[in-house]
């Protein structure tokens, strides 16, 4: 299975400080992490790959520092990492972001399943995933807790107010993940070392 995981690097909310005068975020010196929901999404994706074979590619739109977050993803089971970056992307709203990411998906091509985290801590909108699905004209399942692939169809466990729903979905599809029953795995020393040495392609397709 050819799986894509969209990941966003976000500031660590345990370290968030608000400037009391300007009422804005102090970003300087705040460590960055992989968005927690994206970490769950990646764990689900890697488990699917381990079960069915294939590759997991992680895609992120962000500044160069997001490469560190992509390396973290490589150290916990992702096979390839791509950064799409351009000054012009700064200040994008969700529609722009989803458009950019969808264009990348088309360029990279051939994915059976796209994972996103439910929402990015910070923006907390939860919109990029569904908007990407719309751009790509594929079905979506949001608030996913677990997923299985059988006979070329997706079987998804989806959050519901009263419990959960079992949803069937055709492939290719996009899913957004809230929380799984499995904790994201820890990197091992070896996988960390390998991730540190890995080549991460930074794409700026608009330029080429």
């Amino acid at each position: 299975m050819n799986i894509l995981v969209c990941m966003k690097q976000v500031p660590d909310t345990t370290e968030i400080k608000i400037n009391p005068e300007t009422n804005t975020l102090i970003r300087a010196g705040v460590p960055s992490i992989v968005n927690p929901f994206d970490a769950y999404a990646l764990e689900l994706a890697v488990r699917l790959k381990e079960k069915h074979g294939g590759t997991v590619t992680v895609l992120s739109m962000g500044p160069d520092q997001a490469i560190a977050a992509l390396r973290e993803c490589l150290s916990v089971g992702a096979d390839k990492a791509v950064l799409v970056t351009d000054r012009a992307f700064g200040g994008s709203d969700t529609l722009a972001t989803s458009y950019i990411l969808s264009t990348c998906v088309k360029k990279l091509g051939g994915f059976d399943l796209i994972f996103t985290g439910k929402q990015a801590i910070g923006g907390d909108t939860g919109q990029v995933g569904p908007e990407m699905a719309e751009h790509l004209n594929i079905p979506q399942v949001t608030c996913l807790m677990d997923v299985e692939v059988n006979d070329g169809k997706l079987e998804a466990k989806r959050e519901h107010d009263k419990g959960y729903e079992m949803v069937e979905c055709s492939l290719p599809a996009l899913v957004s993940v809230i929380k799984t029953d499995y904790e994201p795995r820890y990197p091992s020393i070896r996988s960390k070392m390998a991730a540190n040495k890995a080549e991460i392609t930074a794409k700026s397709w608009w330029r080429s």
Binding site: Y186, S188, I189, N196
Partner: protein
């Protein structure tokens, strides 16, 4: 981490992985396991999966083949969470060091596979009820019978004794020769080893300390390491190099005590100001920092010597005495700084104070260390 100026990014990464795991898996259960007097096996397994049990195992045997400095950085960090856990987790080094130095290729591969692939827990069995400092007086025997040895005896105060799968055992093959009659063996639990009394200790309670009983335990003769009668000498050699690195746990422990004390002193107010403003308190903190750093750098220096193949000689007892006594002093000051609260189980410092004491006793008492050190000095020109 930032106390070692020559730390590499790679070493930082390992410590970050370690912290992540221990923050989530160990930190929340320390009090519980301290009360239960139990080793958290699930944390052990998680760390093994991440590769932390293979740090000093050579590359060619499937390990990470890292140097002693890296090992010490990792060990100190682990002990910052729990010194007893760190000590037990790294106990595999005993048997591995023994076979890597004196064992056959087959023995090296066997023990490494058991630890890396089977996740076997190991321990080193030397001490007996009547043979602690005077290890040569041990009474456990290993009698040759055809192509087997039969072991009989009881070992006491064995770290990991109650949970081990594999044992490095010192036993006498010829009691008439005293120290020169002691040999070293690899023994598996399935050979019939029994765990005896599980000690109810003052501190390092996450580390299992138990009696180990050998009652007509039969092992293949090929489980002898090196030559008969050389066991005691082998053990003295590697204890010499491993002792300092057990002390890195004392540094981690003391470091935690200092961090907690600084935090408390900034927050606790008396007479309208935080107690850290009082010289009586901040001088103690200054002393703690100075001593911890001194012990730490002494150990890292020794680690570099080991990596360079230079024998430690007199430095080994120096490190052992200095670092262990430092830990006891620092944790005592930590309790003092916390005042009444430091004496209560609600706060973590009383545990650190209890944990520290063992460091002056095990791995060769500080009295024995002074004896060894003074002999070194007497030999000097």
């Amino acid at each position: 981490m930032d106390s070692y100026a020559f730390i590499t990014q790679e070493q930082r990464d390992f410590i970050t992985i370690l912290r992540d795991i221990l923050d989530k898996e160990l930190a929340p259960i320390i009090t519980e396991y301290d009360e239960k007097n139990e080793y958290p096996m699930h944390v052990h397994r998680t760390l093994c999966e991440a590769g932390f049990n293979s740090v000093t195992i050579p590359n060619e045997l499937g390990g990470l083949g890292m140097d002693m400095v890296t090992y010490c950085l990792i060990g100190e960090e682990m002990a910052r969470y729990d010194a007893g856990f760190a000590f037990s987790f790294n106990a595999a080094n005993g048997i591995l060091k023994a076979v890597y130095t004196h064992g056959t290729d087959e023995q090296k591969k066997y023990c490494t596979d058991r630890i890396l692939n089977d996740g076997a827990i190991s321990c080193t069995c030397i001490t007996e009820a009547e043979a602690g400092s005077d290890a040569a007086a041990m009474r456990t025997t290993a009698v040759r019978d055809g192509d087997e040895y039969v072991l009989n005896g009881t070992k006491t105060f064995i770290s990991n004794g109650g949970i081990a799968d594999m044992f490095l055992v010192l036993a006498s093959t010829d009691r008439s020769k005293g120290a020169k009659g002691i040999s070293m063996f690899i023994v598996e639990k399935r050979h019939g080893v029994q765990a005896g009394k599980h000690e109810d200790k003052l501190g390092i309670r996450l580390s299992d300390t138990s009696e180990v009983i050998f009652d007509d335990v039969r092992i293949p003769a090929s489980n002898l390491i090196g030559e008969e009668g050389m066991g005691f000498k082998y053990v003295m050699q590697f204890l010499d190099t491993s002792r300092p690195f057990t002390m890195v746990y004392a540094v981690g422990l003391a470091q935690r005590a200092l961090e907690l004390s600084i935090k408390y002193a900034k927050v606790r107010k008396t007479f309208g100001q935080p107690i850290i403003a009082n010289q009586g308190v901040n001088f103690m903190l200054a002393d703690m920092e100075a001593q911890i750093q001194a012990a730490r750098q002494l150990i890292f220096y020794a680690a570099r010597m080991v990596d360079a193949g230079i024998p430690l000689g007199s430095l080994s007892p120096v490190i052992k005495t200095f670092a262990s006594e430092m830990a006891v002093r620092v944790t005592e000051m930590a309790v003092q700084i916390h005042g009444g609260y430091g004496y209560c189980k609600d706060y973590p410092v009383e545990k650190l104070y209890r944990d520290a004491k063992i460091f002056t006793i095990f791995e060769g008492t500080n009295q024995i260390q002074r004896m060894v050190l003074s002999r070194h000095l007497a030999k000097r020109q």
